[in-house]
């Protein structure tokens, strides 16, 4: 009898019995208790410090969204979480100020720009010579030594050239190889395999601390792209092996803790997949005017769903969280404490509804314009999205280089105008001899509560203002993305666009123009997405890219926007995004507009 009970308990309790015999201490490489401030001291006998003592390490706890960070390898990064870590662990030759979005010195202290006669541009970058490669060795940050162990490896021009090489290497199939491919001479041929000779690419190491880059066009954003994550220095020795085999080649798996090497203000300490990443202060970062030595000792990013993030924040376990769930905003705004900790700052993204301009009904510009003018964007923001977003009158958000601003172009683009909307639609209806409610229109979005709420609200507005019944169709995300770029692009569809680099070119040309992201074309003829070609628009965005006078660029982009948004009404710009953050009052911080924070400028005050 007893034997049988044991058999049962064996099945369910095996692990517990075994675990009780397990060693009580964690491996030495594990994090000290400081990463988990909620942990009671008594259960962490190995902990050396107490988090609340002001003299202890300053650890900032924050969050990424649920799901593992895709990669820490900047050469193949594409999502905001991966590039956030890259931003802190590696510094580009140029640096984009996270608040002003202006180019400032990064690893390069200065640069010379030469416009060549053939229309190309050569930029010679002079790099710092005092930044060593570092790694976390399980106990502290140490410099990476050369093969003979005598000196630290110093970041040099070869490392940057290697970083660009890895980003462009076809075998790596980097999602963002095309960014450099657009601008860097010869890069596109190399990255698509037309040549395997990297010396044809416009990157030349002049000496250890001088790199020369040759760009195809004399455009304003060359220097911005040279500072992006696609052009960072990379440690060749750990990736490909070095020192006659003493350093093992890690290939793509050099990004795991213990192998990861970097040189920026922070370096990787721990990465527990799907759980958290922590980055630790690099004491060997010299600290510059633009990128100071961090005041924080460590930043921990937990990977949690939004409601879980907010719960941790309210329980006092997190110092900063982003995008609290929308419905919680009412409570947060009314709460005397939380409301003071809530901040709204601009984010460089645009949410829009696109038209397939060749699909039935919406192939008439009057219908498109009527639908666009019938949307009360402010009401949408106040009642549905709630995050203090700005009503979008055009596509390339103000604040980008080259973009018009609301101050200098208050009437550019499109606004809520129910009367004009009715008139436009009426003229179409009269011509076709049909009634508004008989129009066969459908709006497609990918399955998600947020998109659904917006779609349902706009469906109602169209019904109220125009009397049209627009059918809502939703598809699972990946299926949807295939659909809205196929030859069967639905009449109306939703998408959002966020910046890669802060220039209107990244929006107006790279999304809307023929062969743009949302205007796929075959032999120069669009077949899906907007399904739209306007020679004047193409001419304007190209001219704007090459224009060097900032004021003239704004005018050119303003004209282009007027064509896309009003004259041809290929999309309904809905709103410009905002960042909603909750930050504890003892955190000193900056507010980034590109989604990547610069934690080296943050601090935690004694509390």
């Amino acid at each position: 009898m007893h034997k049988n009970f044991q058999a049962l308990s064996l099945l369910v309790m095996l692990s517990l019995i075994l675990a009780a015999c397990a060693p009580a201490t964690a491996p030495a490489a594990n994090a000290p208790a400081a990463t988990e401030p909620s942990v009671p001291e008594a259960t962490q006998p190995l902990a050396a410090t107490e988090p609340s003592v002001p003299a202890g390490p300053k650890v900032l706890i924050t969050n990424f969204l649920s799901g593992d960070v895709a990669t820490l390898d900047p050469a193949v990064s594409q999502d905001v979480n991966s590039t956030q870590i890259a931003q802190e662990a590696f510094i580009g030759m140029t640096n984009l100020n996270e608040v002003t979005n202006l180019v400032e010195p990064g690893m390069a202290t200065s640069w010379d720009v030469v416009n060549n006669d053939d229309g190309s541009q050569t930029i010679t970058l002079h790099l710092r010579n005092d930044v060593p490669w570092v790694r976390w060795n399980g106990a502290e940050v140490e410099t990476v030594k050369t093969c003979d162990g005598s000196a630290a490896r110093i970041v040099n021009a070869n490392d940057f050239a290697y970083g660009i090489y890895r980003n462009q290497l076809p075998a790596n199939a980097s999602p963002y190889a095309y960014l450099l491919g657009f601008v860097l001479k010869g890069a596109s041929d190399f990255s698509t395999g037309k040549t395997d000779d990297f010396s044809t690419v416009g990157v030349k190491v002049i000496d250890d601390f001088t790199l020369e880059m040759t760009f195809i066009d004399q455009v304003a954003y060359n220097l911005e792209i040279a500072g992006l994550w696609v052009a960072l220095a990379q440690p060749k020795w750990i990736i490909e092996g070095d020192c006659d085999g003493a350093v093992q080649a890690r290939g793509e798996r050099w990004i795991e803790p213990g192998f990861f090497q970097s040189y920026g203000p922070f370096t990787l300490k721990e990465w527990v997949h799907d759980d958290y990443i922590s980055i630790v202060k690099n004491p060997f970062w010299p600290g510059t005017e633009e990128i100071p030595q961090p005041k924080l000792d460590e930043v921990v990013f937990h990977m949690l769903d939004e409601p879980a993030q907010l719960a941790e924040y309210e329980a006092g376990n997190a110092d900063m969280v982003s995008s609290p769930p929308l419905s919680d905003l009412d409570r947060i705004k009314a709460d005397p404490v939380l409301s003071k900790e809530l901040s709204v700052s601009p984010q460089f993204c645009t949410y829009y509804y696109g038209f397939n301009t060749k699909a039935p009904v919406v192939n008439d510009v009057r219908v498109r314009r009527a639908l666009s003018m019938a949307v009360d964007r402010q009401s949408l923001i106040d009642n549905v999205t709630k995050g203090g977003q700005e009503p979008a009158q055009w596509f390339a958000r103000p604040g980008l280089a080259g973009s018009p601003t609301m101050a200098d172009h208050p009437d550019l683009g499109i606004k809520y105008d129910p009367e004009a909307a009715k008139a436009e639609l009426q003229s179409y209806l009269d011509e076709k001899g049909v009634t508004a409610d008989s129009l066969d229109l459908s709006l497609m979005y990918n399955t998600s509560t947020g998109h659904q709420a917006i779609a349902e609200a706009i469906q109602q507005m169209w019904k109220d203002v125009l009397g049209v019944n627009v059918k809502l169709v939703n598809q699972e995300f990946r299926v949807y993305l295939d659909t809205v770029q196929s030859k069967n692009t639905p009449q109306i569809w939703r998408l959002g666009w966020c910046l890669d680099y802060p220039d209107a070119n990244n929006f107006d040309r790279e999304n809307n123009a023929v062969n743009g992201s949302q205007n796929p074309a075959e032999n120069g003829e669009p077949y899906g997405g907007f399904n739209w070609k306007n020679e004047e628009y193409e001419r304007l965005v190209l001219a704007a890219a090459k224009e060097s006078d900032p004021a003239k660029r704004v005018e050119l982009y303003a004209q282009a926007e007027e064509i896309a948004i009003v004259d041809d009404a290929i999309m309904i710009p809905l709103y410009w995004y905002t960042n909603l953050d909750l930050t504890k009052p003892y955190v000193v911080r900056t507010y980034s507009s590109d989604g990547k924070e610069s934690f080296e400028k943050w601090d935690i005050l004694p509390h």
Partner: protein
């Protein structure tokens, strides 16, 4: 018995093979590829990505090379390298020869990470959560079921079964956030989210330190996950016990004048355990693989989300890996249950 187990294991292999064919064909039939994203990639990049992961090969070639990598043991003289393409689950060194088996391939979503990595890092956490939830289910379900059976059709019966049914009726989606609210934020008794165990694991799947802290983190998610199953256990226990106490040998025991308590604990309970044991296998499999919602709400870095996200992300190797894992798990769990079942009920003999 030995022959029976061997036959079942062979049969498992057939099941796995068929499941792999179906899954492979299905996932490639679903529209939307792994590299489709909101900001569309240039066609050239997609071509390179397809080339990199051999998605440009004919489907049958892809399938056969998958089978080769996963099922066929590789004998080689070269030691394992850190390459993401060279990550086998099993690496045995015999003399100069390496025997390497089960390479489930890379994850498309995480560069440099493999399906084996996910199995190694995330599966143990889901298994721990599953065991804890099963414990909760048994600890709540069995006493309730026994009580309800012994006091059949009384107030206690209704109360017990009512409580169990409430457990199964409240979805984790609601129960989880409410528990976090009450115990995590308002009372601050328990940490709202997280799991206190991380790789490397003891014996590959056990937390390296097991203490109050582990229990603290595990308490809410295990209850949320296990409560639903406790109703199943309670109902089964009740029904089985009701049936057993009407059997002849119990009557015999009664007529022998044995104490009622002795009759229940020594005779009735043992036999009424049989049906309970039979569901433990499928229940455990369901608990380990059905953790998606629980993991999302409580921020647990387990495997459950991969069952859903691999499909929504079209991460083909992860889809194959998780579904094959699920199949193996289910078949093995049933096998173990059948063996245990034979042990509990001497009337059952295999072969």
């Amino acid at each position: 018995m030995g022959r029976y187990i061997v036959r079942r294991l062979l049969y498992m292999f057939v099941v796995i093979l068929v499941v792999s064919v179906i899954t492979f064909l299905l996932m490639h039939a679903v529209p939307g590829g792994p590299f489709t994203q909101e900001k569309a990639l240039p066609e050239e990049t997609i071509r390179l990505l397809n080339e990199r992961y051999h998605l440009d090969d004919p489907l049958y070639v892809q399938y056969l090379s998958y089978l080769y990598a996963v099922f066929i043991p590789h004998f080689t003289a070269t030691p394992p390298s850190p390459s993401y393409q060279d990550d086998f689950m099993l690496n045995l060194k015999i003399g100069d020869l390496w025997i390497r088996w089960m390479n489930f391939g890379p994850s498309y979503g995480s560069r440099g990470r493999t399906v084996n990595d996910i199995f190694r890092d995330n599966l143990p956490i889901s298994a721990q959560l599953g065991v804890m939830a099963l414990l909760v289910a048994l600890l709540i379900g069995m006493p309730l079921g026994i009580m309800a059976a012994l006091k059949q059709n009384t107030f206690l019966d209704y109360l017990g079964m009512g409580a169990a049914i409430i457990g199964v009726s409240v979805p984790v989606i609601v129960l989880g956030p409410i528990m976090i609210w009450i115990f995590g934020i308002a009372l601050k008794w328990l940490p709202p989210t997280g799991w206190d165990a991380k790789p490397p694991f003891f014996l590959g799947f056990l937390p390296t330190k097991l203490g109050w802290e582990f229990v603290q983190h595990a308490l809410m998610p295990s209850v949320a996950l296990g409560l639903g199953s406790s109703a199943v256990i309670a109902r089964l226990t009740r029904a089985a016990l009701l049936q057993t106490i009407r059997e002849d040998y119990i009557r015999t025991a009664r007529s022998k004048g044995l104490h009622e308590r002795t009759i229940i604990t020594r005779h009735a309970l043992k036999n009424s355990l049989i049906p309970v044991v039979t569901v433990l296998g499928p229940l455990f499999a369901a608990l380990v693989t059905g953790t998606f919602v629980t993991e999302l709400i409580f921020g647990i870095p387990g495997m459950g989300k991969y069952f859903v996200t691999s499909i929504t992300n079209r991460d083909y190797p992860v889809i194959m890996g998780t579904i094959l894992l699920y199949a193996v798990f289910l078949v093995l769990a049933n096998l173990i249950v059948d063996i245990l079942y034979a042990y509990l009920d001497p009337r059952i003999r295999y072969d």
